[in-house]
């Protein structure tokens, strides 16, 4: 089944594509893709048990969303992308793959009262870059007019992700959410930021995304 509809959300000068993969009454599920990916066009098998609507957001520079000129990506700016989607939907449970898992954690903390749980799953871009500053080269990329934007892959593939920065968002989620365990980790690969997240109160580990979603449905 292909996306039943797509709406365009305007975030500053960027047009974001928010796809509805399955329209339904009931709670929203929002899928956040990994680095260099795009939203799925059909409801993933692991979301089959979700009874409500299923949506998927193309981040800036990905899928059907705008390719910015000259880069300048930060994880925080993608969090604001996700915030635009949450504002449109009203509320949602989030499943994030890779980079989308990290962004899901950020927005799950920042808008804890509108996010009904976040599932952090394996996927491209889950590592990020160093946890402290390094001597990073100045990198340029050839311009493209299609997604994914190479600047997204360069800049979001090496953004700083200190563990205590990530855990701050877990604490914000715990403070702002009604759920006893607002974060669930299914990822098998765990960079330092994610290992720190797993050690926090309010974070559950689950063997699969389907299992994680069963607690948030």
């Amino acid at each position: 089944m292909n996306a039943v509809s797509t709406v365009v959300l305007t975030h500053n000068k960027v047009e974001l594509a928010l796809h509805t993969l399955r329209a339904a009454d009931g709670p929203n599920l929002l899928l956040l893709h990994g680095l260099g990916e795009a939203s799925p066009t059909t409801v993933p098998r692991w979301a089959g048990c979700w009874t409500g609507a299923v949506h998927a957001l193309d981040f800036t520079g990905h899928g059907s969303s705008t390719v910015p000129v000259g880069g300048g990506y930060t994880a925080e700016m993608l969090m604001a992308d996700a915030d635009m989607a949450i504002a449109h939907l009203g509320s949602a449970t989030i499943v994030g793959r890779g980079l989308g898992a990290y962004i899901g954690l950020l927005i799950g903390g920042a808008r804890a009262d509108q996010v009904g749980g976040v599932v952090l799953a394996d996927g491209p871009g889950i590592s990020g870059g160093a946890t402290t500053p390094t001597s990073q080269p100045v990198v340029t990329a050839d311009a493209v007019d299609s997604t994914p934007d190479p600047y997204a892959i360069i800049e979001l593939g090496r953004d700083l992700r200190p563990p205590d920065y990530a855990t701050t968002f877990v604490r914000l989620a715990n403070e702002g959410s009604d759920l006893p365990e607002p974060i669930t980790v299914t990822a098998k690969f765990r960079p330092r930021w994610l290992r720190a997240v797993v050690d926090e109160p309010g974070v559950r580990e689950a063997p699969s995304i389907a299992d994680a979603l069963s607690r948030y449905a």
């Binding site: 705008t66 910015p68 000129v69 000259g70 300048g72 930060t74 340029t140 701050t168």
Partner: protein, 303 residues
Amino acid sequence: MTPEFPGARTPDREYTIDANGVGIAIHEWGDDDAPPLMMAHGGFDFARTFDVFAPIFADAGWRVVSWDHRGHGDSGHTHLYSWEADLRDASVVFDHAAGRAAVPAIGHSKGGALCLNLADAEPFRFRKIVNIDGMPSRRPVPDVAEHERTKMLAGEITDWLDHRARTATAERKPGTVDQLAERRRRLNPRLRPDWLRYLVGVGAFEREDGWRWKLDPSMRFGGFGPWRPEWALPKMASLGVPFYGLLVEHEEPMGWGTTIDDIVPFLPDGGHVEEVAGVGHFAHIEQPRETAARIMEFLGRPA
């Protein structure tokens, strides 16, 4: 309106270059074939804030090359802003002005920090570095947008997200020349009213409903992110070129609050830092000739 201010001089050459798709406005003072001296402005400023300071160096034989950071002054308003993008833009400007040759650079505030960071990533571009009150400290810096903060109060994050949600239709608030000058005075309280009015003439544009600063309305003070100001301090010690840092006596809203004691442990070999008495964050505007004289003594003759 033709702005005037004693000693202020319109750049001799103004044009735009392409920095990976972003239009970056260049402003030059001095002979085209004179040795380049790079000059980087602070956050929420623009190159024309050097209209008094830069001509002093041009008259001394330098070709001063400054640029408006993306989103500032006459440069393009881009989709995204980040420190890494500012560094990339700066690298293109250095390439344009000096190729791969080492040249001296003066940076104020955020511009000073940019030069320090670029010198870490691309040391071959620098012969000497002067930093005017843009040396890192353990305090968050006020003029670096978007991602350079660590305060993690939920209210600050939601304020920032709410701001992002409004940016699609945001515009700078219009006003008269005096009103814009007064708004700027709140951030630059030590600067003369006639200078602030002059800045409106070169840093704002006029429409039917009034003047607006050219700065991209999506940009705002504050922000947050994983970066910690104190991380930049130890990297100063790695600099391999002569370094001269100027700190200031008076704290201001836009100032970084860095002290000599913060800097001395991390000075590079041969580096020198001093506090300039009687000035605030904009030392080069309050005392342009005195500040330029100190710097020219450090730079030596144009070569």
